[in-house]
């Protein structure tokens, strides 16, 4: 198991390196001159040039990347062009809100998705099944922007059940987490339904039933335990999906997380912030997947031999 963990960790490092080169080159190829944007429309060409020198943008790609990587290893992500504050502290101030949002979304995905999926599996082909599958389809298809604004309008403005947006306690968290998690909840319902249906047709379930165990006991103790592993890896993958989703959801709800930070940075081509958030997200996604793999390994011994 240790060697598995080490080899996966090395793989993750490789992925991070590739992600950093990829992001850096993408931004390097961007047809926009950050120095010009920092300098503003009224600036003379000399001003733009002096800003370009100040920011080190006049150096070749390899030199800029090497410098970035060296600083990165020291934990220095550079300074924001627009705010002129350290990217590291900007990211640090936004991690907790985004983490809360993701945690809330995962919780809602599980709380909504699992019971619905189980319900659908146990009523296969009947109306609850069709209803849940319909919900799964709609949840996945609805654009988050539209979904978020609709929830705000109906539940926060119309019924006055939640705040209209902003950051705060659980009441502030609910709607953004729901917007982020609703699509995933439908997906979880589908997965747990098919996984459960597959497990329910297995011999050991039949045996358990034959032993005279109650249907509830059969599902909870025997079937669900074996249907669970895909859910663990899905949570790992979800972190990646969420990293994209938070950009929209945080913007709609005014949630002060990493998504808003990177959105604002993209708007003004604040390269150090964009690269910083992308690299940080790559680290989080890689770690989440690594963790999911390790947890699965513990839960399901069969994987060890695969």
């Amino acid at each position: 198991m240790l060697s598995f963990a080490v080899s996966r960790a090395l793989q993750s490092l490789g992925v991070l390196l590739i992600a950093s080169v990829f992001t850096f080159s993408l931004i390097f190829m961007l047809p926009a001159d950050p120095a010009r944007l920092v300098a503003g429309p009224s600036a003379s060409v000399q001003t733009v040039n002096s800003i370009r020198r100040e920011l080190g943008l006049d150096r070749p790609f390899a030199a800029q990347y090497a410098l970035y990587l060296t600083n990165l290893l020291r934990g220095d992500l550079g300074r924001s062009y627009k705010q002129q504050t350290a990217v590291r502290s900007l990211i640090a101030s936004r991690i907790w809100p985004t983490f809360q949002l993701m945690l809330g979304a995962v919780a809602l995905e599980l709380l909504l998705g699992l019971p619905l999926g189980i319900w659908a599996a146990l009523r296969r082909g009947r109306w609850p099944d069709r209803l849940v599958m319909g919900f799964a389809f709609l949840g996945a298809a609805a654009p988050q922007f539209w979904l978020g604004l609709s929830l705000v309008y109906l539940l926060a403005y119309g019924l006055n059940l939640f705040p209209l947006g902003g950051y705060g306690g659980l009441s502030h968290l609910f709607l953004p987490a729901l917007t982020l998690g609703l699509g995933g909840a439908g997906w979880y319902a589908r997965v747990i339904r098919s996984s459960l249906l597959e497990v329910l047709s297995r011999d050991y379930v039949r045996t358990a039933r034959a032993k005279g165990l109650s249907p509830r006991r059969v599902v909870v103790r025997h079937a669900l335990r074996n249907a669970a592993p895909p859910i663990i890896s899905m949570i790992g993958l979800d972190i990646g999906v969420f990293m994209g989703g938070v950009v929209v959801v945080e913007s709609v709800f005014g949630w002060p997380g990493l998504g808003r930070l990177v959105w604002d940075a993209i708007r003004v081509v604040d390269i150090p912030v964009i690269v910083g958030v992308v690299i940080f997200s790559a680290v989080v996604i890689t770690l989440a997947n690594l963790l999911a793999d390790l947890v699965q390994l513990v839960l399901d011994p069969r994987i060890r031999y695969a």
């Binding site: 403005y157 709609v252 005014g254």
Partner: protein
């Protein structure tokens, strides 16, 4: 103003004054914005959103009478003494003005603040506004340790000498970049000064939670008697305009910083109850279609004139819900020098076709139009595309990210036509020179410049330079006339299709008290120190 009308006005004001009681002191308001505030450092911040907030914390030597373009002294005790040649300005500072840290402001702070903007290390987007001060360029190039043209004569006197007379210099001294900052506070905060600003302004920054809100509180030692009216201002960021609008309905927000969201615009303006809280004013900007004078058939003035005649501007106004007025020339109506008589080009597709035929392009031609990809700009570009198709010009649309459009537009011989929506030119200061030098002169017709038609007429440059040397008050009318004729000449060359001047709309809550001059000020957008609340 003659004495009689003056007295009548005074009487009327008093009469109105009894109807509308004087603003009450106290209370606080909440303002919403979608985007985060980047910085409150006046040397660095350069957009609509942070300018009014910087104005809460800082002051310049000069300012404008609210709602207008008339200069008035602010940190200066009076308007400066100007030498006869118009090159030297001596400012006397107001006595006893204190920074938020308690120290008295002196002439040294004025010198420091201007040199800070010029210092390349500051990376100030305002640097080039001040390079006309004598010795500034040497300082920028690192050849001098200080700017020779800024001399501290006494603790309350500073003399600024220019390389050449410049009639717009006092406007430049009223810009945010010229706000006075204390050296020790900048040294203490370092690069974070933008988050820990210290100025002389009506409010102090109390707290700033990144991504959430900024809180400002009244400066109890403010030098303007009786101001500000409010005890505090909270700026909430991250509120989507639609959500902000709902928050205003619910009484959680008092002023929509981003204006009325397009989706709610018609509903708001048609509802008599809501309409009472809506303010609008034509802003000092021009949205235009730029025609590159160095690309293909657009090199021919007749082709550019034909394009001017082929575009139906009223159709474009309909796309933006009528939030604009048709533009006929370069300058917007509130800008000094605006020529009411300028007729521009009337919509006349038949004449446009005839002009194209005269230019030997009877069958039309193919060209490219760049636009930013945010709504409504692609829709407007499509409208232009349809209009031009009527005269046989086939337009390929390139809808790109804002930064990519800027890059293409400012590279010679690249973008044939650029729709400036989202990037329209708005005044930095109310003087026509700000609509000439940065966007239509030879010095801006360079790679990376903002002169997108790449027009360079040396004779016009010489005339503009001559006009800028007319600094005496008696010469002002002649100067503005000269600029008007200069823009008329550019209009003849048809380097732009001036399309509309944006009308800005804002909406406030019932409790917020403020008029259009303070809510839609042409220079500062929001004059926070003059807003108050009903008790």
């Amino acid at each position: 103003m003659n004495r009689l009308t003056g007295q009548t006005l005074l009487g009327l004001t008093l009469l109105l004054g009894t109807a509308h009681a004087a603003p009450q002191q106290g209370g606080s308001i909440t303002v919403s914005y979608k985007d985060d505030v980047t910085t409150l450092d006046p040397a660095i911040g350069y957009d609509y959103q942070n300018w009014p907030m910087e104005k809460m914390v800082f002051d310049a030597l000069l300012d404008y009478i609210p709602g207008g373009t008339t200069l008035s002294p602010r940190l200066a005790a009076k308007m400066p003494d100007v030498s006869r040649d118009g090159q030297t300005y001596t400012f006397t500072l107001r006595k006893g003005v204190k920074f938020h840290n308690g120290r008295t402001m002196t002439a040294d702070d004025v010198k420091y603040s201007l040199e800070r903007v010029l210092d390349p290390k500051t990376k100030s987007p305002g640097q080039s506004f001040y390079t006309d001060i004598a010795g500034a360029q040497a300082f920028v190039d690192g050849k001098a340790k200080s700017v020779s043209g800024i001399a501290v004569l006494a603790p309350d006197k500073v003399k600024i000498t220019l390389n050449a007379p410049n009639a717009a210099f006092l406007n430049i001294m009223a810009m945010n970049f010229a706000f006075i900052v204390p050296k020790e506070a900048v040294a203490k905060a370092g690069a974070d000064f933008g988050h820990q600003p210290v100025g002389t302004g009506p409010f102090r920054l109390k707290s700033w939670v990144s991504g959430q809100q900024l809180q400002f509180e009244r400066n109890p030692n403010y030098f303007m008697a009786g101001l500000p009216y409010l005890d505090g201002v909270t700026v909430k960021v991250g509120l989507d305009p639609s959500v902000a609008y709902l928050s205003l309905q619910r009484g959680e927000v008092d002023l929509l910083g981003d204006g009325i969201p397009p989706a709610q615009f018609l509903q708001v303006t048609r509802d008599p109850k809501l309409k009472a809280n809506v303010f609008s004013r034509t802003s000092v900007n021009t949205t235009f279609l730029s025609l590159n004078t160095g690309v293909g058939p657009l090199k021919d003035v007749r082709v550019r004139q034909a394009i001017n005649m082929a575009i139906d501007k009223t159709k474009i106004l309909r796309i933006i819900n009528g939030r604009g007025v048709v533009a006929r020339g370069v300058l917007p109506p509130l800008m000094p020098g605006y020529d009411k008589a300028e007729a521009g080009y009337a919509y006349d597709p038949a004449k446009a076709r005839a002009l194209l035929a005269a230019a030997g392009l009877k069958g039309g031609f193919e060209t490219t139009l760049y636009t930013t990809s945010t709504d409504p700009n692609p829709r407007i570009a499509q409208s232009i595309q349809q209009d031009l198709a009527q005269i046989g010009v086939k337009v390929q649309l390139k809808s790109l990210a804002q930064s990519s459009v800027i890059d293409a537009a400012s590279t010679p011989k690249t973008a044939a036509m650029v729709w400036s929506g989202g990037l329209a030119w708005t005044q930095d200061y109310p003087d026509p020179s700000d609509f000439y030098w940065p966007i239509l002169s030879c010095r801006s017709a360079v790679q990376g410049g903002w002169n997108w038609p790449f027009v360079c007429d040396k004779a016009l440059d010489a005339r503009a330079e001559k006009a800028d040397r007319m600094v005496a008050p008696a010469q002002q009318a002649a100067r503005l006339k000269e600029y008007a004729s200069l823009f008329a000449a550019l209009n003849k060359q048809a380097v732009w299709v001036p399309v509309f001047h944006e009308v800005r709309y804002t909406m406030k809550s019932d409790r917020l008290v403020g008029d259009v001059d303070n809510l839609l000020d042409p220079t500062h957008f929001i004059n926070y120190e003059r807003l108050s609340v009903k008790k």
